[in-house]
Symmetry: C2
Subunit: 173 residues, 2 copies
DNA sequence: GTCTATATTGCGATAGAC
DNA sequence: GTCTATCGCAATATAGAC
């Protein structure tokens, strides 16, 4: 049993995002989310009064995770662009899970589309500040998008990352 | 009024894919597909006996469009990799529409996931045969995936393509 | 704060007329 | 080959007990 409201809300958001990732929008019903979080549907609706609020809660948490990630990138120093690509290939982190969930939602939700657009802009700015080269910043971001996109249908990105690093080496990166 | 069964089936697949692209899986109901194609729900279900068959029909058509596209790529000669990236940035073609639809479906449909995986394998093989360089083939494919991914939330890919071409020029491509 | 029960709507699918 | 009418079910949301 959750000790306070915040814990239960986090558990509900976790369940919502996992169900989105694994079964898509149609699998993330209020019944399924409540069951996965270990509460009843009435319990869920006490914390998030409607499905729209659940979506809003997920996108707000994504925004916080992205802010944290941007700070982590800045801490990577010279390896910033490599850190970006390595984390693009990562699976199963809270940020990754939230991003996949937002991508699912973006199919039919304008707020989710906007959240993803803003996320990309934040990452591009950091990459571009670091590299001082919009051509390379855009190219690296697209490669990261590509690796992220491919997770969707279960392709391992370790091999992809190795290929990309060979190409970056030819470019002096 | 359609002159034959084939025309009506194509119109239904068009309507299905347009609704998937514009409103996601939850927007592509049988009622909505039938209405957009200008027939009744009963009329739709005469041609496709269930939603599963409608999905199957869409994925089969995608497979044919991909086969055609692979032939077009091979006809592009030395520019094959550039042709690939330029068409990755394209919006509104029958192939593009079918791909976006399959991506929507892949969220909750294993067949759609497999169709997209097979599509990527076919494109990688063509790129790799042409370039004779798995590192570059994979990198270019990821960039194409990235541009495709970004269409989803309404970003123009013309600028992205220009940046990428500048980087490819540094690599002698 | 969490529960059960229920109202309401909308979807996929069937039946049968034309 | 296309239609209308309808059944059964699942999903969101509400009401009210504990």
């Amino acid at each position: 049993m959750a000790r306070n409201s915040t814990d239960t809300k986090e558990k509900l958001l976790d369940a919502f995002e996992i169900l989105l990732d694994e079964h898509g929008t149609s699998g993330a019903t209020l019944d399924a989310v409540a069951a996965k979080a270990g509460v009843s549907k009435g319990g869920l609706l006490y914390h998030f009064g409607s499905k729209a609020e659940l979506i809003k809660g997920s996108l707000e948490r994504l925004s916080r995770l992205v802010d944290d990630d941007v700070e982590s990138m800045k801490s990577a120093g010279d390896r910033l662009h490599l850190y970006y690509l390595e984390t693009s290939a990562e699976v199963g982190t809270p940020l990754d899970r939230s991003l996949i969930a937002a991508n699912c939602l973006s199919q039919e939700n304008a707020d989710a589309k906007n959240a993803l657009r803003k996320t990309r802009e934040a990452w591009f700015d950091v990459l571009n500040d670091h590299l001082g080269d919009p051509d390379m910043a855009m190219t690296i971001q697209l490669i990261g998008d590509g690796m992220y996109f491919n997770q969707n249908f279960g392709l391992s990105q370790d091999e992809a990352l190795a290929h990309v690093k060979n190409v970056l080496a030819r470019l002096g990166l």
